[in-house]
Each structure stands twice: as C-alpha cells, then as structure tokens.
Symmetry: C2
Subunit: 310 residues, 2 copies
C-alpha cells in the first residue's frame, strides 16, 4: 500500500505534539496538521502549575512553545491547514484539506481537543487567565483567600464550588434556574458549606474588570440588575468536543467524544485518539500528553501487524 | 470514618510524584511513601529526550528533582519508609511499615513501578545510561550510525532490533537459544533486514568499557569465548513489576501487573494504580505522570461518593 504518510496527527495541542514527538523520534513518515498556532487550549492558559517538571509553573504559551520546539528538534513535519473532512474506513485513511488537497495515511491520531462552553458575554474572553477560569482543578490554588463566583448548577459546578472553598474565602454560585441539577448528596454538601452562597434565577451578563476580574454584572429573571464584586469567575457549564470535522458515523463516540481503549485505539482500525477529544473523566495537560505517546506507539504496533503490507 | 490519611501514595517515581502533586494541590490529607530517593527508575536514566516540555532533554535525576520540588511547593507530605504489607480490602486501607508503624487511609494509589529484567553480569549496572539501555523507544536516537547489540529473542527484542536499524549502522542480536521466541512474521522481517546479524546459542558474560560501553564478552554453548565491539547494548529480556509488598489476592492482576480501568481504578474499591506497575503496553515517563494525575482525581471522586462518610 502506498500512501503519503504512515501517520497523520490532527491537532497540535499537548496530545498532538507529544504524539508527533514520539512519531518523529521513531522515524515514521508523519505529518502533524494544526489549524492555528501550536498548543491548542493551553496557549490561552495564563499559568500552568500542575504540569509535572516545572516547579514554579509556566505559561501555557511557553509550554506549548517548548513542546513544539522539542518535536521540531526531531524533524516533525507540521502543516498549517484546515481539515474539512476525513474518511477513516478502510486501510487508507483520507484527509481532505480546505485548499482541496487530499492526503492519505495508514494511521491517524485524532487530537482535536475540546473547548469549555463559554458564556459568550462581554469581558469573558478578554479576562481568561486574569480571573476567568474553566478548570477548578487547574486554578483553584490561585484564589487563596479571595472571593469568587462559580457559574453553573450541574455536578461539576457544585463539586468544584465545594472544592474551591478550600482556597477561596467565599464562593457564590450563580445559577440561571431556581434549583441545581447536581445530585442530591452533592447539593446537600454545598448547602451545608458556610463559605458557599447561592444566587438563583440569575444570569451573568458581563464580566467586569480592567486588567483583572473585579466584578460580574447580574440580571435575574425579573430583569433586575445588580453587580457582585468578585476576583475570580469559574465558568463550569460544560465542555464541548472539537469534532466538527470528524466522521462520527465511523467512530464510536459518547456525546461526541471519541471512545478509545486504554491503548487509545478507537473503534476504527488504524485510528487512535488522544487528549481532550476522548471520552474520559480527566482532561489535564499531563494526561493528554501521556495519551499522545500511547497513541503513537499503538499506531506503530498497527503498522507492524502481520496482515498489513506497505 | 477516621483514618490517618485520605490518600496514601506508594512510590515516588513520576506516577507517584504527579499523584502527589495533584493531591497536595487539592488539599487532600495525603502522604507519599518512598523507600529510596525520589524519582524511581528515571533517576538511573542518563538522559530523557521524550518527556514533553524539555526541548533539549534533561537527565532523569534532574526531572525527578523538578517533579519532587513541584510537589513540595504545594506541601506534599512525604516519608522515607519501607512498606512491608498492605491490606486493601474494606473501607480502611492499612499500610504496614518496616518500623512497625501502621498507617490507615481511605484511598491508596499504588505507584511502585517496574524494573527491567537485568542480565546480572559485570559492567551492566555501572554502564546504564552509558551505552546500556533497557528501552529502545527512549534511547534509539542516541545510537545514530553506531554499532550496537540487542540481547533477547522475544517479540520486544526482535521488534526493537528492527526499530534500532533506523538509527544504528549495525545491530547484532544475541540470543541464548538457537531460535527466536518472537512471532514468525517479526522474525522474517528481522532476517530480511541486512543491518541485523544474529549470534545464536550465546550469552553475554560481561559488558566492557571504562566510561562508556566498548564491547561485550560472549560465551557460546560450547564454552567458546569471544568479544564483540559495540557502542550500545539493549537488554530486552522483559520487565518485572515491583509488586513484592502488594496483596495480589486483593487486586486483579496479569503476570503480576495491576489491572486498572481507564480511570486507573483497580478491582479494589478506593485503590488506584498508576505508572509502570499497571498492566499496559506503554511504559514511558509521560504516561506514568498522566496516570498519576488521573489516579488522584479518581481517588477524589471516590472520597466524594454519597455512600461514604468521613
């Protein structure tokens, strides 16, 4: 079988870059496709304290840069391109690019990532990493003794509100309905926690602050407006898979996230997935990177399978 | 339930240190037990080029140091101690130390690691990282245009011998029997590769070299001795789980490696495993670290389960 590549990696975040590093070091004919700049979500992450190996933490941009430089050192071929569609059935995988080019590859690692659901209000994007966060596990310790708010009413939002009280002096949960969606036991824990307050039937209309978050503008269901002074806003209303170009009819998925086994193999032979696009509980930089390595090594084993010929 | 700890982590390699980093940042009552120095296997790894984030690579010792310093920054409590036995059945996990102390914990992360099977011959340990390697995925690119040998005859040994020919100018496979254990198709690939030579019915009796590997001393089944000049020796005769203190009757395992689900939960409720001790295909620093993070977050979810009370 002659194809352009042995492996095409789609996405240049930590998972894709690590998959690329491993593939380049293994001298595969590999191409990494990235539609924007390297790094994926982490490039908009102000400071990362929990990627192991950096005792003082580092900026997401810096980490992305280092990962890209490392892959480049081993001559990873990368291309800035928008993928418009994929055909992953059969032994030759086809990757169609926006410019009309069709690439072929024997294996594919899907590392397109996910994105937090945003509120879509003024001030939100501008203040990411400056008081606006989408990940309590990542950022909670930055809010020691500060007053913050959590937006949302599901399990994640309420659990993380409880978690955040280990750090913040006060956590105000703002929910657009008059009751939480979170399971009863978690609700009870939150109600019993005297550092947590609730504002019901209310939406956030704007995040206020010049260089950092200073307050949020609220509006309740009767149209009444108010302002709440906070130094942090955790928007915890869900995460969405970046699956727009993926052929979901060819891949087992749950809620649009790709299902893999422990070796990061999807339901389509020769197709692996890694990082936040996968159906899983934990979405952190370090396990995304780990999965990238595992995915490439699974691709290598697939390429060596007896029944396959190049 | 009152226990000494919410989480005890056993082992201070990349998996354990990352589990500890996540647990300390989450403000769990956590203790990391390590019998030697921090870092596990990586402290004897001369140079690591494939841990993402370090474009020029770094020494294993240095990486271990950085990981430990990062966990310490978040006040991870650690203790140098030999665990002699564990009781992981029931809601209170018991950890018995050599000095007679018994610790109790609600959850445990097992991160005791694994070790490559060594030849156990003179020169081997002394020259680790100086030409002696147990991991082709990690170290192959360091042997560009050099002559090396691979010790072993199983699938891993023969596959890695083929892989190593992408870098080394010549690879001599030394096997103690007169035929390989590797599957037929892999054997055929190796036999067809003109950079690979085989020496049969022969064992390595010593690894020679002052500061770096220079040669290996061989002895065939008839007692005939010889020397082969090589600049690298890949010892690929298996990997052994560090499971001596684990209660294997309480944990599902395969060949002594602990079986987990994708969230790193073992068959024992409240017990997670991470890193090389796990039953899996890929044993690299970055996926060990990723699993450590996932294991701690699984422990947190377990601690929050409705049916549990502290």
């Amino acid at each position: 079988m002659t194809t352009d590549y042995q492996l095409v990696i789609i996405g240049g975040g930590p998972a894709g870059l690590t998959a690329g590093l491993y593939a380049a070091r293994a001298k595969l004919r590999v191409l990494l496709l990235e539609k924007g700049i390297h790094g994926g979500q982490i490039t908009v992450t102000d400071w990362i304290d929990n990627y192991p190996g950096f005792p003082d933490g580092l900026s997401g941009f810096d980490l992305a840069d280092k990962m890209a430089a490392q892959a480049a050192r081993f001559d990873l071929e990368t291309k800035n391109a928008n993928v418009v569609s994929l055909d992953l059935a059969g032994p030759v995988k086809k990757i169609n690019l926006e410019d009309g080019l069709q690439l072929t590859s024997q294996t594919v690692v899907i590392a397109t990532g996910a994105r937090p659901t945003q509120l879509g209000i003024p001030g939100e994007t501008e203040l990411i990493g400056k008081g606006v966060s989408y990940c309590a596990t990542c950022d909670a310790p930055f809010y020691r003794n500060l007053e913050i708010s959590v937006i949302g009413g599901g399990n994640t939002a309420v659990q993380e509100a409880i978690h955040l009280t280990k750090f913040a002096s006060k956590v105000t949960v703002i929910h657009r309905r008059d009751q939480l969606r979170a399971t009863k036991v978690i609700q009870e824990k939150a109600f019993a926690n005297d550092r947590i307050e609730f504002i019901w039937d209310t939406v956030v209309t704007e995040i206020l602050g010049d260089k950092e978050v200073e307050a949020i503008a609220l509006q309740n269901k009767n149209g009444k407006k108010s302002t709440l002074a906070v130094q942090g806003v955790f928007v915890l209303i869900g995460v969405r898979p970046n699956n727009e170009v993926l052929p979901l009819d060819q891949l087992e998925h749950k809620n649009g996230f790709i299902v893999t086994d422990k070796e990061m193999r999807t339901s389509a032979p020769g197709v692996m997935a890694a990082g936040d696009i996968c159906w899983k509980e934990v979405r952190q930089v370090v396990n995304a990177a780990g999965e990238g390595a595992v995915a490439t090594l699974a691709a290598e084993r697939y390429l060596e399978e007896p029944s396959r010929k190049e």
